[in-house]
Subunit: 355 residues, 2 copies
């Protein structure tokens, strides 16, 4: 606390990212990183941009990247917004499109950054409890609202809401922006992007951090009607016009030029997810049905925090949330088959030695 | 205008960056880029980080970079804040440290982003006119205030305020944060950084875009008392925790490891600036005394906008501001000697053919 801080600063409860421990030989299954590196074409494109041209500003509008993304999703260029990570995109979305006189609605269990943004931007919100089985029921979102946001697949549950249900929600709320945060969508079966042209109140956000293996490059984007995108551009150009550096622009473009690699990588991760789910169930874990690159699981008898700590002692880091309703669960990112074998082996051992 | 926009969005007047025209053989003297590329050590460090490790998140705190910067300036690690460009750093500064009940003070002629931030964050401000000779007189800043910010050297004038005067301002305003925006300081003679340990109300911001030739990498930083830095960290961690990507962190660290290169480059730019100033004066331009990598000049008889347009026709882009008090001036970035020779040649020709 300092007298030099603006009023808002002391009231903030900043987001706590998953730890990034600098330990050798660690099996890191705590921040949903992709176990496979980015497409070799990405590395090549970055290498080709890594030269004296870094002295120059990037294109502040990143037009070439926007065009690439627009073509990929069969949208117009003015339906794409890009930013330095989907966290930054979401920040602009909260300020630019979700701050209204009525409260914003989102699930009680979802990406834990949403209430942080609300505090930062002074946005009133209501958290709608997920049902007991952790499903989002759209009938719970009937209240008058200034917007609705949810992650789909949801985090940290991994569970997906059908796009048919998303469409009903869009139809029921023609005067609110519905934001579908699709950080994990490439590991799922369906995306709301196909509704973007049809509904002017839909905004879909995505990231290159997970499925495209580029958490280190910080690129996210939003897709929506040109009017929504213009609102975001106005906010961004009042904040920092050159959001993406030249290397991030080059790398992101190359990532979209290699969809075969994306599909291959996601298929591998999903196959490992299914193997891991079966193995966890065999160890008497309840595993929520995941459409993401992680699983959310609780053991019938073993305490989650203790399991988390025991795994950590063995050099395996997963994510544990000390929060209501989910404190019995571990969120486990899907690594390589070898990493998941090591996890299952460690859990088998921990459970056996504590039974 | 859209009914989906938050109230603030329609009131925004976003910042207009200098154009980034994609024309071959253009002589680009409009955005104060360094004509020399970054240190070869920067390119090497980025190349070494451009690999499969991009699948992982960067260190959200960029601790190694902070330590490097802290050592360079002989400060403690907790006196350094880093961000995705000094524009982003400034955005967090405005929200976190400059929004108070009393108005923020800054010059009428300075970095034109400041009023944009005030609008975005709803900060009351008073613009204090520079004197007729474009000097900042600290006696004009006696009013009760919620903070003071100015660029030093100032933009677009290039003129520097002595650090002795900055110190008096700090002493006169013990209850306000004084932000010295030193984007161009490496081309000047002195910096306020040496006062950072002595004054808890001083924050200095700098960038790697100009003197370190890394406009394309988007890295800026702030130096100040640990309490001020903590305020900025709280805002940043409520906005996007991983502000800098892995390649930017690696490149920025390498840039600070090669100060010989920095000094060499700045010396070359400053020498070209002096040559250019003399040549412009010979053409009957008034040139404000610059401590930056640009000059601000007006011709005794020729209209600035016409000169700007005539230069553009010849493939030379400089910056013209259609704003009160400075609409007779051109802001000309310092390029290579060859580029400046071409500029002088073009101006000679334009002036001769219009006299």
């Amino acid at each position: 606390m300092s007298r030099f801080w603006s009023n808002i600063v002391s009231q903030l409860t900043p987001y706590t990212p998953g730890e990034q421990p600098q330990i050798d030989n660690l099996i890191k299954l705590n921040t949903n990183e992709n176990p496979y590196g980015p497409s070799p074409k990405v590395i090549k494109a970055i290498a080709e941009s890594n030269n004296e041209s870094l002295r120059k500003y990037p294109d502040p509008n990143a037009d070439t990247l926007k065009t690439t993304i627009a073509r990929h999703f069969e949208l117009d260029d003015n339906m794409v917004f890009v930013g330095n990570s989907s966290d930054e995109v979401l920040a602009h979305v909260f300020r630019g499109l979700l701050k209204h006189d009525k409260p914003l609605l989102f699930p009680d269990i979802t990406y834990s950054f949403y209430p942080v943004y609300c505090k930062l931007f002074d946005i009133e919100f209501n958290q709608i409890p997920l049902r007991d089985d952790f499903t989002l029921n759209i009938d719970d979102y009937q209240a008058s609202n200034g917007g609705i946001i949810f992650a789909n697949p949801n985090a940290p549950t991994g569970m997906a809401l059908s796009i048919e249900k998303v469409e009903i929600l869009l139809q029921r709320n023609p005067n609110s922006v519905i934001v579908v945060d699709e950080a994990y969508v490439d590991f799922a079966n369906d995306s709301a992007v196909r509704l973007v042209k049809k509904y002017t109140n839909l905004l879909v956000t995505q990231t290159l951090s997970k499925s495209r293996s580029l958490a280190g490059l910080r690129v996210g984007f939003a897709l929506g009607h040109a009017e929504l995108i213009e609102g975001l551009e106005r906010v961004k150009n009042s904040f920092h016009p050159y959001a993406l550096d030249s290397l991030a622009i080059a790398g992101a473009q190359a990532a979209f030029a290699d969809n075969a690699y994306l599909e291959q990588t996601c298929a591998k991760v999903n196959s490992t997810r299914e193997r891991t789910t079966q193995a966890l169930k065999a160890l008497r874990f309840e595993v929520l049905p995941s459409s993401a690159n992680f699983v959310f699981a609780r053991h019938v008898s073993h305490n989650a925090e203790k399991l988390f700590l025991s795994l950590r002692e063995r050099g395996i880091v997963v994510r544990y949330f000390d929060k209501p309703r989910i404190s019995e669960f571990l969120r486990i990112s899907i690594g390589t088959n070898d990493e998941m074998n090591a996890l299952i082996e460690a859990l088998t051992d921990i459970i056996a030695s504590n039974s």
